[in-house]
Amino acid sequence: MILKVDNVTKNFGGVTAIKETGFTVNPKEIYGLIGPNGAGKTTMFNIITGNYAPTSGQVIFRNESLSGLKPHQIVRKGIARTFQNIRLFSSMSVLDNVLIGFDFQARYSFLESIVRFPRFISEEKRIKNRSMEILDYFGMSSFAHDKATDLSYGQQRKVEIARALATNPELLLLDEPAAGMNPSETEELGEIIKKARNDFDLTVLLIEHDMKFVNQMCDKVLVLDYGKTIFEGRPCDAIQDKEVISAYLGDFHND
């Protein structure tokens, strides 16, 4: 068990976004969180990353509770994420974007950076090489010095995932990675995520609407509806489950 969401509830004022939901994700698994709009998927994401504090229940990562930790501390524990609409740093190059991920892993102090101590130079070289390796892995190294926002949509998505991998995570949270992509790009993205999962021995938790992509990718899925869990299991079973269908397509045989 790498991630355990333990009976979490979250309400904003009167609205209950998530109602006593719990699930566990095992190492190297690709776990899908699916459900109609407003089902609480993004809220769950934000609870795991620490942006929202759950009203009750807690999140346990590698049997250590995350409650009370600030978002950036959770990232340093090994949970990285990407955003639904790509949020690369607009004023920086692709390389610098990835280097941000290494920020907390570069071992030199503020003073050392001012006086350019040898440790600063060696650490900077180390993390620059590591970043280039990751970019190479994604075939993006030739764009290293271009402005991140000048790239195509697909390329930007790759840079965003590369940037998330820079924080050397164990759990990667993907927020609708395939959104806005044509089928061939989605196909290619799926391959990259699977390959990354094996090469960086990652566990992946993703939110997605594109059921074809979910089927192709996920080992297990959890279907949320109005904040409640209505199905957990393999994606192919989910498609036949009556409750899941009615949640998605509405109850048309309400005799």
């Binding site: 990353t49 942006n51 600030k70 978002p71 950036h72 990232v75 340093r76 990285a80 994420r81 955003f83 949020r87 690369l88 740093f89 607009s90 004023s91 920086m92 610098d96 280097l99 941000i100 991920g101 290494f102 920020d103 907390f104 570069a106 030199y108 503020f110 950076s113 001012i114 006086v115 350019r116 600063f120 900077e124 993390i127 940037r163 998330a164 820079a166 924080t167």
Partner: protein, 345 residues
Amino acid sequence: MNIAIKKDQWINLAIIAVVLWFIWFASSHFDEYTIRILNNIAIFIILAASYNLINGVTGQFSLEPNGFVAIGAYVTALLLVTPEAKLYQYAIVDPYPFVMTLHANFVTALLLAGTFSALLALCLSFPVFRVRGDYLAIVTLGFGFIIKILAINNPEVTNGSLGLNDIPEFSNLYWTGGIAIIAVIVVLNIVNSKFGRAMKAVRDDEDAATAMGVNTFKAKTLAFCTSAFFEGVGGGLLAALLTSISPDLFDFFFTFQLLIIIVLGGLGSTTGAIIGTVLVIGGSEWMRFLDEPMKFLSYETTAMPGMRMVVFSLILIFIMLFAREGIMGKRELKDLFKSKKKGDK
């Protein structure tokens, strides 16, 4: 890769050598008036380069300079003025005993001025950086206001609105120019390190920066305290240049001038801050004609004192509307060469 780094280092050394030569040449050949303007420009380069760190690089809109410059100036003045001079100039009320014992040489005074400002910035950063939104501008504006009121209402320490006089004139072009070079190097080293990248990430998208493990509170506070440190040192240099300071020297106009400088130069560009300083501080001397009677195509205007200020505010609005990037945008000197190289590739 490392050939390029070597080349960059040579360029930097060449630039520093040229500037050092210019300082020597200026202080031995130029007349008093030009040297004073160069001193002003050097001090304002220190202030503008560091102010750009919090405003331009980290994107946190703050109006703090006049507060920290005041602190730096008073700390340095109290440490430099001789006890006898203090005794006779405290007219309103006798100074506290500890004020009389304060004495230090120039370098220690400047360092203490900077450190004291940086510590105060640290305390201020807690109420301000915990909360999002642009409260930073108003709190730092209020902070500058409170510092001025404290200086006026504590005659036992600051001699009140009489201010401190007979400060030994240590600031010459070597001091101001030298420290300006150090300040620019330090700021550039910070910007081109993981701390600088974190600051730029906070500017571009704070949430995404947090998602990359950046402690945004720490990044903002580091930028704020570094800015405060150099503003304190700049204040000390200014005190040792003017040889007499008083509370009304540090009002909001001081910050407004720095704002025009970094906006004109390009928010986020240290080279831009330098160019902005030369244009604004040098320019304001040249623009004195705006205050005197002017002849527009034979139409003789009477002297309109204060016209310079109107023109300054219009320039600021004009830049914001039409040339928001300023002269250098976010680019540094080296980027100019690089972009040319990339252009012809």
